[in-house]
Amino acid sequence: MKKAYFSFFAMLFVLIFLFLASSTDLIFKEKEPEVYQISVLIDWADDTGWENFKQGLEKAASQFNVDFSFVTLYEQNKVSQQIELVHREIAAGAQGIIISSENLTIMEKVLRNISVSIPVVVVGSTIDSPRVKYSFDNNYEAVAQEVFKFATDEVEELKKITVATNTVNRNNVEIFCKTISDLGIENEIEINRVQLQSLDECETLVEGIIASGGGVLISPEINTLNQLGKAIGGRGEEVVLYGVGWSKTTRSLIENNSIDVTAVKNDYKVGYLSMKYMVEHLSGIRSFPKEMQSTENILINNEDMYLKENMSILFPMD
């Protein structure tokens, strides 16, 4: 009889428990979707050339409940400000950092200041650090090879190439320049590197090249590329300009033949995936072994800019 009473009360207890668990929030509370705080820091003072990347971030943020802040430098070319900005973002509660810094010295300092518990996704370069969970490498060596090959294929009897950069130390730019330099030596083409800081300097350089009967300019930086394009101002027959990167300004400059070719990667995809991978890491869906993805580049000129397959890369629809 005691056993029967015990069984009865046990069953009653189970029923009450199941009822409370299924019909109230007393025992189990439905998990509300978590909103992740992620900060995206770039080493530029404006988002020129980052528009598509931002669109990718925004798409991923809306899909994965991310409240993200896109942080640029206070001043152009002061990449050391990134250290301070990273501190600020972590103090503000950032759960993950997506960072783009092409200066490895600065990047190392940044990473030293980030707790291991805060995951980092690096965009644009690669660095060996336990804090970095994933990186998208621009692979500037491959880009330089492609641009150099295009130049030598397109320009007959190419004797000289001027590589224009700004004065800020960026590892990718250095890799690019070194690769071009090596290829120049290999192909007996003179490589001249110039560092430019303003539109005036760009115009002076362009005028100088025109005065000397034309030449080939290459810039691996989007701002310098756009400034050089503006300096050329449609005189594409006299100065050939190749570059790396994409922005709205670049589009116009390509259309009016100021820029002949630019190497473009799918920034939207990089932005989307960097945010997606960060969220997946934070939510524990997957833990990345140290991975690196080399982004593919395509060369765009004014003839193939509106090809269907290129339109979606250059002009994201979202």
Binding site: F19, R251, E255, M311, F315, P316
Partner: protein, 603 residues
């Protein structure tokens, strides 16, 4: 892996447990197991059914929603076509471009529809821009004739053509912004002076205008709608950029080959429901995509609720089955209790007969059987009693006739030797002896009569053996009226005379002591004869050893058996004997008044 021995052992254990289960437990157990299986089967069946119905309902809802979206989209397309028709038939056809300006009409229609229209432009066959609204400058390198929309318009001149989405790229823009458009083009007849030329009217529809048609349509969690042309090229998709970037895949080309209606397909390992609706003029297909995983009733709480309902019904059924099993088993249990009492010998137990027919029938049968057994037992007891009495008579009739012959021989000798008075005394004693021996056939007599009987016997024997022994009686007065079996003292006294006094030469003494001790009547015959060993005494009581054939013939065993036969195993003889010291035999029977004993009270 379980070997055969373990399996066998487990089976035996289960069998053991099963054997210990009561009828109620077995009924309850099987009912509950049946209920459990039934609940599970019904539960799964209903769950599947409800899931399927939910899926059907959602599909139907999606179909209706898609119908509505189709109508909206169709309306959007018709409106845009109407704009094109208005421009063509009401403006371009009625104008002569040599003299008339189209800009006002173009601007008016653009202003009216600028939410959906990016630009309206008219081109000559050579690609010359004839009119545009809003005002814009054609790009220097814009190759109009190579544009897809231009080719389409020229290929089938009588139709309107919707091209796939593209970035507007023919007009210069101030802010370097770009916009996605859907070109709507058609071949038109342009009048210029006296000549009629062919041109192309282009209306760039804002892609965002089409997005507005779809954006606020919610099919459900993880469900979405997309729009594709006849070939499956995407026109609108909520994740268009992800698809073109290769991050996501869509089954648009395969879906384009399917007819309108509901379809289910597995794409990239995900089972998905598709609803397809084609739009009339364009042949575009609106596709609603619902992954089946989002339809399944599978939230944690709803699963727990299903479990709760299953447990609830199971508990309710368990309680009901417990009650039913109790109702069914109670009469059988009651019957079993009654049978147990019968087993314990309580034949007066009232067998409760209740419950359903079979149990009542069984109860009646057991009751009748118990009565029958009771009757048989009484018969056996009676039979046994009769046999006992018969045995008693046989034993009592074992009086040695030699005693009578010897006594008569002594009396004859007395008469011949003119010892008349002694002869008279002997005859009188013999007569009294036989009177008590017969006792009118009664087996039970008073102690007084038994004493009298022994006195007469001793009187006769004393005459025969000429003072070879003496005897004396010590009789408790209260014991005289108690009852006893007749002829129990005499055989013991006879033994004392023949076996104990044989070598005593007149020194033999026989003492007869009768008294009541608590509830027992004790009659002691004591002699100072040669006595017996302990072994002999044991054999004597066990009936293994018998004295020689001399005496009355009714020996110790005879007396012992008769007492036990009448009074039971608790009563009988006690013998204390020492060789060369003598023997003391005590008859122990219940102290019962004569009348009571005679009426059978001792039993």
């Amino acid at each position: 892996m379980m070997n055969g021995e373990q399996k066998g052992s487990l089976k035996e254990k289960w069998y053991e447990v099963y054997r210990k289960l009561s009828l109620r437990q077995i009924i309850w157990f099987y009912f509950t197991i049946t209920a459990l299986i039934a609940t599970m089967l019904i539960g799964f069946s209903f769950y599947g059914r409800f899931s399927s119905q939910a899926q059907d309902i959602i599909q139907e809802e999606n179909r209706k929603l898609l119908e509505q979206v189709g109508n909206n989209c169709g309306s959007y397309i018709r409106n845009m076509m109407k704009v094109s028709d208005t421009l063509y038939y009401s403006v371009i056809k009625k104008s002569n471009l040599s003299t008339d300006s189209l800009s006002e009409s173009f601007q008016l229609l653009y202003d009216t529809n600028k939410e959906n229209i990016e630009s309206i432009s008219l081109f000559s066959l050579s690609g010359e821009l004839l009119e545009v609204a809003p005002a814009a400058v054609l790009k220097q390198n814009a190759e109009i004739r190579k544009q897809e929309w231009f080719s389409l318009a020229m290929s089938e001149r009588e139709n309107l053509h919707f091209s796939t989405p593209m970035v507007s790229n023919i007009f210069s823009t101030q802010d370097a912004e770009y916009s996605w458009v859907i070109p709507l083009s058609r071949a038109v007849q342009i009048t210029r002076g006296n000549s009629v030329q062919t041109g192309v009217l282009l209306i760039n529809l804002r892609h965002s205008g089409l997005e507005d048609v779809f954006n606020n349509v919610l099919l459900g969690e993880n469900a979405y709608i997309y729009l594709a042309d006849r070939q499956g090229e995407l026109i609108y998709h909520p994740n268009m950029q992800l698809i073109s970037s290769g991050i996501m895949e869509e089954n648009n080309y395969e879906t384009a080959t399917k007819k309108d209606g509901n379809h289910t397909e597995k794409f990239n390992g995900v089972k998905t429901d598709f609803v397809i609706k084609s739009l009339g003029y364009t042949g575009w297909k609106i596709v609603g995509v619902t992954p089946q995983s989002s339809v399944i009733l599978g939230s944690f709480k709803s699963n727990v609720f299903v479990l709760f309902m299953a447990c609830f019904f199971l508990t309710a059924l368990t309680i009901i089955y417990s009650y039913i099993s109790k109702r069914v088993s109670a009469p059988i249990l009651s019957l079993e209790q009654s049978v147990k009492k019968l087993e314990d010998g309580n034949w007066d137990t009232d067998i409760e007969i209740s419950g359903f027919y079979e149990v009542r029938h069984l109860g009646n049968a057991i009751k009748n059987m118990a009565l029958q057994i009771q009757k048989l037992m009484i018969d056996i007891v009676n039979e046994h009693e009769a046999k006992r009495k018969s045995d008693l008579s046989v034993l009592q009739n074992q009086i040695n006739p030699h005693f009578l012959y010897n006594t008569l021989d002594v009396i004859v000798w007395m008469i011949e030797n003119e010892k008349q008075s002694e002869a008279v005394k002997a005859v009188t004693a013999l007569a009294r002896f036989f009177r008590i021996s017969l006792s009118k056939g009664n087996n039970i007599i008073t102690v007084a009569d038994e004493i009298e009987h022994v006195r007469n016997y001793l009187t006769i024997q004393d005459m025969r053996f000429k003072n070879r022994f003496t005897y004396n009686f010590q009789i408790q007065e209260e014991a005289l009226q108690l009852g006893t079996i007749k002829l129990v003292l005499q055989p013991l006294v006879e033994n004392a005379i023949y076996h104990a006094m044989e070598f005593m030469d007149g020194d033999g003494v026989i003492e007869i002591n009768v008294f009541q001790e608590q509830h027992k009547l004790k009659m002691v015959v004591k002699d100072n004869g040669c006595g017996m060993t302990e072994d002999v005494v044991k054999k004597l009581l066990d009936g293994e050893e018998f004295p020689s054939g001399r005496g009355s013939g009714v020996g110790v065993r005879n007396v012992q058996e008769r007492i036990k036969l009448l009074f039971g195993e608790s009563y009988g003889l006690e013998i204390f004997s020492e060789p060369d010291e003598g023997t003391e035999i005590t008859i122990i029977i219940p102290a019962t008044p004569y009348e009571t004993l005679r009426k059978g009270g001792a039993n």
